[in-house]
């Protein structure tokens, strides 16, 4: 598979609204999760999860369906607050800042922790306006600046060459794989620090999937990535760190190589060898 090379220095648009960390000690982990418990109404779905997420690495969350990995992912950027009747306990930190208690308006944190969804969900707008949306809702109005970032984001997502002449066409004119890359470009446009991906390639054909996996490999140089996947081979290919979830519990986590070759828990081994799920 041909690897896409991006020669653009994508870090030349630095976010300047993010407060600098005044702590003398640099945090080891980009994000930390301590004793996370989560309820949908009266139904408890996450049990005392503690985990660390490493900067500039790809962390994969694996496990059988319904084990809570998507729910866990959504707690990382406070997306669960959109749904009524949910409750969470525990502490989640980004750069040592408690993202639930220290930040008043949840939308603030979502500009630093972005998300790409399982099923691509472009807006019923043009390709350009889709990418520009995140910039505009955050106050970036200058037309030339926006156009510049739109182009850079599309290049990063390896989509620019395919759409550069049809930027004003509806996003729905694109194929499934292209739409998903569009959504990735859209998330990249706001220059988050962490990107959460919920089964980003599960709805795509093998070629598109492979492209996305290559993309993830490149992106981790500048971003921290957390990806949920039910495809173990994908996890093994793409991630540096893997966490295994089962029925709302974090059974085991560690470097991907170790999890897949020398899992410590039996359940992990059973899942990896395909005995269930």
């Amino acid at each position: 598979m041909q690897a896409y090379k991006n020669n653009i220095d994508i870090m030349d648009n630095k976010r300047t609204d993010i407060p600098k960390n005044e702590e003398p000690t640099v945090p080891i982990y980009k994000m930390t999760v301590e004793n996370l418990n989560f309820w949908y109404g009266d139904n408890k779905v996450l049990f005392d999860i503690s985990m660390n997420i490493r900067e500039n690495m790809v962390s994969a969350l694996i496990g059988p369906s319904g084990c809570g990995k998507s729910t866990f992912l959504r707690t990382l950027n406070r997306m669960n607050e959109i749904i009524p009747n949910t409750r969470m306990e525990g502490i989640i930190k980004l750069d040592n800042i408690d993202i639930y208690r220290s930040i008043k308006e949840p939308s603030q944190i979502r500009t630093r922790i972005g998300m790409v969804f399982q099923k691509s969900n472009p807006f019923p707008k043009s390709i350009f306006d889709n990418i520009a949306y995140g910039l505009r809702v955050n106050g970036i109005k200058d037309k030339n600046f926006v156009a510049e970032i739109v182009e850079k984001s599309l290049r990063q997502a390896a989509l620019w060459d395919e759409v550069k002449d049809i930027l004003d066409k509806s996003a729905y004119a694109l194929s499934g794989g292209q739409q998903q890359r569009l959504c990735i470009a859209r998330a990249l446009a706001i220059r988050p620090e962490v990107i959460l991906m919920d089964e980003p390639a599960s709805a795509l054909d093998p070629i598109s999937t492979s492209r996305i996996e290559d993309l993830i490999g490149e992106l981790k140089e500048h971003y921290t990535i957390v990806i949920v996947t039910h495809n173990m081979q994908q996890a093994a290919r793409v991630s540096d760190y893997t966490a295994f979830f089962y029925q709302g519990n974090l059974i085991e986590d560690g470097p991907t190589k170790e999890i897949f070759t020398r899992p410590r828990k039996k359940k992990t081994e059973d899942y990896i060898t395909g005995r269930f799920g």
Partner: protein, 318 residues
């Protein structure tokens, strides 16, 4: 190179925005409460003011009164005569007559059309029936009243040889026309909501299309159809313009449907213009308004509860 400086999110703006939207959302609730308060406020003197109670108290409105010495006690509504008479009974009879005729007319037609549309009609037919009903629903009640007054009344008088040109039958039929869309829509909805699995089960046991309808769909849809009839009745009781124009507006008590009638709503509409503010007549009109409000409130509450309960049951089954 340009810097990406995002505007910080204002929690205050979000908070104010949400509160503003919420306040507007409560207007519907506040309106109902205010309507209740202000209608009842003007009717209260019937119970509290001694002078008004003397003239038009609750007992005077309900029971037979001996208005003239020596003459027989009877019910009579004549607020503007020398001896003001405030019996509500003639108005009650009138309202009942009009609403009954309306339902006798609207229920069979509305339910029948709904059954045809839901159980017999092909796709093309359905697409013709729906606009017909919506067209009927779109006719303003003043136009239906006009139709009854100018055209229907003449027709009925000639065909049936009637004494009174404007009467309960005339108003009732026009009222029925106004109610048909309500009955039709709710009944058809009820039949469409019968789970397909029920129909399939009956078909699998060898029933033909009509047998499925008769034995499975109609019984299952019965609560919904009944709710439609009840809600239609509520509408018939509250309707004003049609009866105002087509019923003759005479507060007569009789058993015949061919006599003129006076309904509650038409009474208010006809007499509010000339009433003196603060008088007994004024309070009585608002009292009638309160009665109408309470009655339609109860009917709508009950009808909606039945329909919601049905919806929940269906969602449970599906």
């Amino acid at each position: 190179m340009n810097e990406l400086k995002f505007r910080p999110k204002s929690k205050i703006r979000e908070f104010l925005g949400e509160k503003f939207i919420a306040v507007n959302a409560f207007i519907a609730l506040i309106a109902i409460v205010l309507i209740f308060l202000f209608i009842f406020k003007e009717a209260i003197p019937i119970f509290t003011d001694s002078e008004i109670r003397e003239e038009a108290g609750l007992d005077k409105m309900v029971f037979r009164q001996e208005f003239y010495e020596g003459r027989e006690a009877k019910w009579s509504w004549q607020p503007n005569s020398e001896v003001p008479k405030y019996s509500l009974f003639p108005l009650f009879i009138g309202t009942l007559k009009a609403a009954l005729i309306a339902m006798l007319f609207a229920a069979p037609l509305g339910i029948g059309a709904a059954v045809y549309s839901s159980e017999f009609a092909g796709k093309k037919m359905k697409e013709i029936i729906k606009p017909i009903i919506e067209l009927l629903a779109g006719i303003p009640s003043v136009v239906l009243g006009f139709f009854a007054l100018m055209i229907l009344a003449t027709f009925l008088q000639i065909t049936l040889g009637l004494t009174f040109r404007l009467n309960a039958l005339n108003a009732g039929i026009a009222l029925g026309l106004a109610v048909i869309p309500i009955v039709f829509t709710i009944a058809e909805d009820a039949m469409n909501s019968v789970p397909g699995s029920l129909r399939e089960a009956a078909t699998a046991l060898g029933a033909n299309k009509w047998q499925v309808s008769l034995t499975t769909v109609l019984p299952a849809a019965l609560p919904g159809i009944a709710a439609g009839v009840v809600l239609g009745f509520g509408r018939a009781v509250g309707e004003t313009m049609i009866v105002l124009m087509a019923s003759g507006n005479a507060a007569i008590i009789s058993g015949s449907f061919l006599d003129s009638i006076r309904t509650f709503s038409a009474t208010i509409a006809a007499e509010l213009a000339e009433v003196v503010f603060g008088s007994a007549h004024y309070s009585v009109l608002f009292f009638i308004g309160s009665l109408l409000f309470v009655f339609t409130f109860i009917i709508n509450f009950a009808g909606d509860m039945v329909l919601t309960r049905i919806k929940i049951k269906i969602q449970g089954k599906m």
